[in-house]
């Protein structure tokens, strides 16, 4: 569903990951609170961000496609069950679309490692629990490409056996080997982590540094706008 990171040197790529993560979270609040006019303004802001980051439209469409049924269900629920008008029923859908697209912008311009390090830094106040949580999220993100590759390989292997990945039998043919592989991979990874001396008190010091002035400026400005909207 979500986009993959694309290397680049745009303004958005150059903003510190912690700042982007906080701004995206803040934008989520704005999307939730905004009225139709606000949603329109956010859409314009999103359009500008997409242009600045150089994200291809095809990638955005690809990210939204798996959610189409979900969007349709939300729309129809509001329209038919709650008796809302067409425009009123489209607003919750618009909120979801905007949330997904803002997240897509974040993921397109921030690598997994940058995100992991941002989580580590932001969760630092939570102590050991925060570090472990950030580490687990990071490991889970690192496992995703392997899982996707396993799914692909298994589907190909079963296709090569003449077993099409469709229907209940096809699902079983895919899910049984995938689960076995995933559990085994998790076991093996856990052995590798422990063998490389992983411990919960480990420090992250090779990457990262203090936020720069522009990050504080961005966060401060955005925070002020958010507070104003909440107060007014």
């Amino acid at each position: 569903m979500f986009a993959t990171y694309r290397k680049g040197n745009s303004l958005l790529h150059r903003i510190e990951a912690r700042t982007k993560l906080l701004l995206t979270a803040g934008t989520g609040i704005l999307v939730y609170l905004a009225d139709p006019l606000g949603l329109g303004l956010l859409s314009i802001a999103l359009f500008l961000l997409i242009r600045v980051a150089g994200i291809p439209a095809s990638s955005l469409v690809k990210g939204l496609r798996p959610m189409v049924i979900f969007f349709a269900m939300i729309f129809l629920t509001h329209l038919l069950l709650q008796g809302s008008g067409v425009v009123a029923s489209a607003i919750p859908v618009a909120r979801f679309v905007l949330l997904i697209l803002f997240t897509t912008v974040l993921l397109h311009t921030t690598s997994q490692s940058e995100l992991k390090m941002a989580l580590v830094a932001l969760m630092k106040p939570l102590g050991g629990f925060g570090r472990e949580l950030a580490f687990m999220v990071g490991v889970a993100m690192a496992l995703i490409p392997g899982l996707m590759r396993d799914k692909e390989t298994i589907a190909r292997a079963q296709t090569a056996r003449g077993c099409k990945p469709a229907g209940l039998r096809g699902f079983v043919a895919l899910i049984v080997p995938l689960l076995r592989r995933s559990f085994r991979r998790a076991d093996e990874l856990s052995d590798a982590l422990e063998s490389r001396c992983y411990h919960r008190d480990r420090e992250y010091y090779y990457y990262g540094g203090a936020l720069a002035g522009k990050d504080y400026l961005l966060l401060g400005g955005f925070g002020a706008v958010l507070v104003l909207i909440l107060v007014l």
Binding site: T159, R196, C197
Partner: protein, 490 residues
């Protein structure tokens, strides 16, 4: 440095190690061999406290692995590179992956930088430093895993079948680096099925039925190595520069249109048009004659697996064409492929169900299915008693043969085997090679006569069974000819 005294270990209902006594000295280079399931990996996991012995005591530098307080120090002393290259990476990039272990042991940032450069350089993969690990080949990933463990500079490094999947050139390089580390005082434990990987060992032990059945000196390994020379050893860098300019022209085989596999001007690139674009095959033309074994060999990233998937019809080439008996490849119909570790794709409850699955799906009557199942099991050399067993409970070698039986039962004309002996011990490997010979020579009850395309990074093994040899190097075809021609040109 490491001492095992009276070690026993069992999984529920299955004893693995029994009363093992072993002493590994500082600076020693120890080789460990043994069949699949003999307990080698269990032994490895006991060495740094990943598993704890149920009986006996293991000490590393005087500290017991059962003492939780000492575990971190023990793991700092005993580094392990495991077999599966896909399940050891933590970072997104190569650099991050190496940083992970070094941060764990609190190496200063400037020293981290130096070690990353030094160990990547030592293994000849410095250019991979900023690359995304998930986009590397299996061999490249394993080199990164080796670099990550070496960079932690433990007193002892255990290689658990860690170099078996490297091509000959990289294996030779890694073995040289390991020897150099050993000469500087690092203890090495090399777990392997390949006798030639043991030639630098000071001592070799074999594990059988959970016991150390044999302890020998380096000469034993050298003797084993000699036996294998002329096979693997002469391979040198498969797909390397030696074969350049000896390329035979397309169609130099016995290919006639409409018979065998014709590959014309095949090119393929992964992630085309992106920054991760990887050219995998470049203008490859060759002919694979019917009813024989054609070995396709090459080093890491040579394009052999890409070629296999294209022939199997699982991918569409960027340009060029493939014809099987004059028709395009149809996966599961006119060509079948067995990926590496095909046993991982089982999903049926019994071997009988697994072999019968495709036959029933093809609409064969029940009695015909039964006959085909039996003949396929006979042909691969499995005992019929395995039919009622769960495929997951068979030994690794038997699982591999059962996977062969699944393919053979469908009476395919063309079968592609991708690294069919990967991870198997010598005995299982021999059974697999025997099964391949039977498949092609029509000696089996299944009728034989199958055309086999044998993909491997191990030229010695390919030469044991292949009639023709195709060598790929960085996506280019560098040799195509008979087994004898290949041997002559070595």
């Amino acid at each position: 440095m490491i001492e095992l005294a009276g070690i026993s270990f069992s999984y529920p209902g299955r004893p693995i190690l029994r009363d093992v006594n072993l002493r590994i000295r500082r600076g020693e280079y120890l080789g460990v061999t043994g069949d699949n399931g003999s307990g080698k990996t269990t032994l490895v996991k006991l060495l740094n406290g990943l598993l704890l012995p149920q009986e006996g005591r293991i000490t590393v530098g005087g500290a017991s692995t059962s003492d939780r307080e000492s575990l971190l120090a023990i793991r700092r002393s005993v580094g392990i590179v495991f077999q599966n290259p896909d399940a050891q990476a933590v970072g997104e990039t190569v650099e991050e992956d190496i940083v992970f272990g070094l941060e764990n042991i609190r190496v200063p940032a400037s020293e981290i930088d130096r070690r990353i450069d030094s160990y990547l350089g030592m293994l000849g993969i410095k250019e991979l430093r900023d690359r995304n690990i998930s986009l590397l080949s299996g061999g490249q990933k394993q080199l990164v895993n080796i670099a990550a463990v070496m960079a932690m500079e433990p007193a002892c490094i255990v290689f658990d079948e860690a170099i078996s999947m490297l091509d000959a050139g990289n294996r030779k390089n890694v073995l040289q680096r390991i020897s150099r580390l050993n000469s500087r005082g690092t203890s090495i434990i090399q777990i392997t099925h390949n006798p030639e990987d043991l030639s630098n060992c000071h001592r070799v032990i074999a594990i059988s039925d959970g016991r150390i059945s044999q302890q020998g000196l380096v000469e034993d390994a050298e003797e084993a190595n000699e036996t294998n020379k002329g096979k693997e050893g002469r391979g040198g860098r498969e797909g390397g520069g030696k074969f350049r300019d000896r390329r035979t022209g397309p169609g130099s085989g016995v290919f006639r249109e409409g018979c065998g596999i014709g590959i014309r001007h095949l090119s393929h690139t992964y992630n085309p048009g992106t920054e991760w674009a990887v050219p995998a095959l470049r203008d490859v033309s060759l002919t694979i004659g019917k009813g024989r074994v054609t070995g396709i060999v090459g080093g890491i990233g040579s394009g052999k697996s890409t070629l296999a998937c294209l022939i199997a019809g699982l991918d569409t080439p960027a340009s060029g064409s493939i014809a099987i008996d004059g028709r395009p490849p149809e996966p599961g119909r006119n060509v079948r492929i067995l990926f590496q570790h095909p046993e991982e794709f089982f999903f049926e409850r019994t071997v009988r169900e697994a072999v019968a699955f495709g036959l029933s799906k093809a609409g064969l009557p029940e009695n015909a299915v039964g006959r085909r199942v039996l003949s396929a099991i006979d042909e691969v050399g499995l005992d019929r008693s395995v039919l009622g067993e769960s495929p997951f409970h068979l030994s690794s070698g038997e699982q591999r043969l059962a996977a062969f039986a699944i393919s053979i039962a469908m009476k395919p004309q063309y079968v592609i085997l991708d690294e069919p002996t990967a991870g198997l011990d010598q005995r299982s490997r021999k059974r697999v090679l025997d099964a391949i010979r039977r498949m092609t020579r029509g000696e089996g009850a299944g009728g034989g006569g199958v055309t086999v395309i044998y993909i491997s990074h191990r030229i010695g093994e390919v030469l044991e069974v292949a009639d023709r040899v195709v060598v790929l190097d960085a996506g280019n075809l560098t040799f195509e000819g008979t087994n004898a021609t290949y041997r002559d040109r070595m």
